[in-house]
Each structure stands twice: as C-alpha cells, then as structure tokens.
Subunit: 223 residues, 2 copies
C-alpha cells in the first residue's frame, strides 16, 4: 500500500478512553502522540483541558468523547457536552449515536441528537464530528440506516465502535464506506491491535483509525 | 429476615439501562414496576420522559442514570444532565463518580462533580442522589475514600456498581456501610439475580437493591 509512515501516523487517533485512565496516563499519551506525529489524541472530556494544554503548539489535535460510551442521554446534554469540549480545546468530537432511539425506530431523535452536536461548528468551524454507530450491536440494515442519518445530519465521519461491544470488521467498514460514499470520513476503531489490522481497515475503506495500540503499530511500520 | 414482600419490592429499583433498550422494553419495565410495587423504575435519561408519563399517578418513582456508565465527563455536564433529568420527571438520580479523577487522586474534582449534581436539590427538594463508585475498579482504600467523599458532598446513597465492571459483593457492601454509617443509603447493584442474593446484600448492610431481575426475584418471595 502506498502510504508513508508519516501519512499513516497522521490518520491514527491515539486513544485512551477507559474510565480509570489517570492524569499520568494522559501525559504519556500526549507525549507519544507528539513524538510519533499522530493526528489526534483521543481522551474523555474530563481530560480534554489537560490534553489541550500539553499539546498546545504541536500538530496533534485533541479529540473528546461525547455521550460515551452508551449514547443514551438527551440531545441537549450531548450538545452542551460538545460545547464544553470545544471550549476546553477539543477540535474533534467522537460522539455515540442514541442507540436506544435507533433500536426503537425513532429516527427523528437519532437525527436531532447528531444535528445538535454538529451545531457546535457554528461557533467553531474547524471542529470535526465523528459519530460512533456501534456496529457490534446493529443489524446490517440498521448499520446502513445509521450511516445515512449520520451523513444527512452533517457529521464528518461515521465510526464503527466504542470498543465496548466488539470491534470493527472489514465487512462493516466496507458497508459503511459504500453507504456514505467517497467524500465522507469512515473511522475504524475497536480491536485494532496490529499494522496488519490497520492496513486491512484502510483497504476496506477506512480513512481514520482509532486504537490504543498506536505506538506499537507505528513502530511495526518500516518504510 | 423480617421483611414483607411489599417492603422488599419497595426497596428494589427495577432497572433497564442497557444502551439498546427499546421504547417497548421501557413500557414493559414501567408496567411491571407498577404491578409489583417496586420503588423505582431506573432508566437512561433518553427514556425518563416516557417513564415519567407512564408512571404518572402511581407510587413508582423514575430514576435516571447520570454520566453513565463511565462517569468521565465534566461536573457541569453532569449537573446539566441532572437538571434535565429532573425536568423530565426523574426523582432519583444514579450518577457515576469521576473514576479518572479518583484514580488520579484529584479528590477536589471528585467532590465538585458530586456536589454539582447534589445541587439540583435546590430546585427540587425531593430528589435523591445515589453515587456509583464502581467497586470492581477500586482498591479497598479507594472504596473507603470514595464513600467518604460521597457522604461529605451531600449525596443520599452510595452505590456499588454500574454492572459493567463486576457486581456488588457482600464484603463491599459491608465496607461501604461501615464507612458511611447507618444514616446514609447503601445501594447494591450489579450481578444481583436471585432472592438469596438480595437477602445477602440486605444482611450486609444494603437498604436499596438495583437489579434487572426484579420481577423474577419478587416472584420467588413467598410470605
């Protein structure tokens, strides 16, 4: 695959979203993200301010989770959370879709929920919104439907998984890419542990990778 | 144990907090809660309004999760979420402690996070706040410390678990009861499946039980 080490690092979100992550863990994450040139350091909102401070002046963006990992709060709560994340320095937001509304066929709530988070772009244009549809809990029909709603709602990326309910599969990434077309982002995350996994996901159509094994993966790469 | 079936039902929170719960699931939950006289129907915020509507005029209270299940957002987001939950009809709030802050020994954030949710009582006095400390991820020292902070912050209950990271044990409940004293609530939740489990938790010091098996448990009871 014609991708350089630098290009690969750029599309990897160096991720630490477990609830018991410590301040020291986040400091290490940010140091590694800068050292290896990862595009993003992805943390929970409680650490966004710290990560933004640590990464100030670097090319690494801070990504915050929103409604993580269940996605089952109200749209206005996710919107408020997104505003706070941006105020604290996040420039990418990984939100979880309202799975309960999706499963209940309440597509209007699913759409509103995403739309209200996408609205933060009004105050800060250079924010990217990725929407986790949690493929491990969906039927293929629901995956396609979710992708369409995410696209219509104006988000930038559709993302496979939180990591809690199974990971990304090549088939899911292919289906998502086919559904959203070539102009939208597809982020694969969940269970991605090796360079081989990453390259398979890229081949399947992903243009962003989320993994807590980013350092090991990029060190595997020889140009 | 000298407890009647009615008393037992009253201290059980009939619980449905999985992210893929549907509207129909919540309708069933509320119907069962009314039929069996459970004290509470515990749902995620996305369903609080529906549950409040279904349970209007009954003796069953609606309980909402807050910051569920990771607890890793900002205090102001949890406070906003708590306000919305109360506006939507919740009278009990099961919030998750900021586990990242606790593990980082940032006790001031842990305290502030709880205190800002407890503040909703200013606008609605009859709200109960329960704080999930997620015992499965804590050392005994951290459990004791978390209980002390929860008590100092003015919450009504300390609760063992979300159900995601192991369940309640008798030892944990005993330790929590010893730490908070007899005047505060202790809720055991996570992995409670049988009447035997419930009675063991009550003996250990719990005065509230959270379980998704409430109907099966109460049907086991013969007076």
């Amino acid at each position: 695959m014609g991708i350089s080490k630098k290009e690969l690092a750029k599309i990897m979100d160096h991720t630490l979203v477990k609830p018991i992550a410590t301040r020291e863990d986040v400091e290490r994450l940010c140091g590694e993200a800068e050292k290896h040139g990862f595009g993003c350091a992805c943390v929970n909102l409680t650490y966004v301010s710290l990560a933004a401070q640590l990464l100030k002046g670097t090319n690494v963006k801070v990504c915050s989770t929103i409604g993580f990992p269940y996605g089952i709060t109200l749209p206005e709560v996710k919107a408020f959370e997104a505003e706070k994340a941006v105020e604290n320095g996040a420039r990418e937001l990984d939100m979880v879709i309202n799975l309960s509304a999706l499963k209940s066929r309440d597509y209007e709530t699913v759409r509103k929920d995403i739309g209200m988070v996408v609205n933060v772009k009004r105050s800060c244009e250079d924010v990217l919104v990725k929407v986790i549809i949690e493929v491990g809990l969906l039927t293929d029909e629901e995956k396609v439907l979710a992708c369409k709603i995410v696209k219509e709602a104006g988000a930038d990326f559709v993302k496979t998984s939180t990591g809690l309910a199974g990971g990304a599969t090549m088939e899911d990434v292919q289906l998502m890419r086919e559904t959203v077309g070539k102009d939208m982002g597809v982020k694969a995350a969940g269970g991605i542990r090796t360079l081989k996994d990453v390259l398979a996901m890229i081949r399947a159509g992903a243009n962003r990778i989320g993994t807590s094994a980013a350092v090991a993966i990029i060190e595997e790469f020889s140009e």
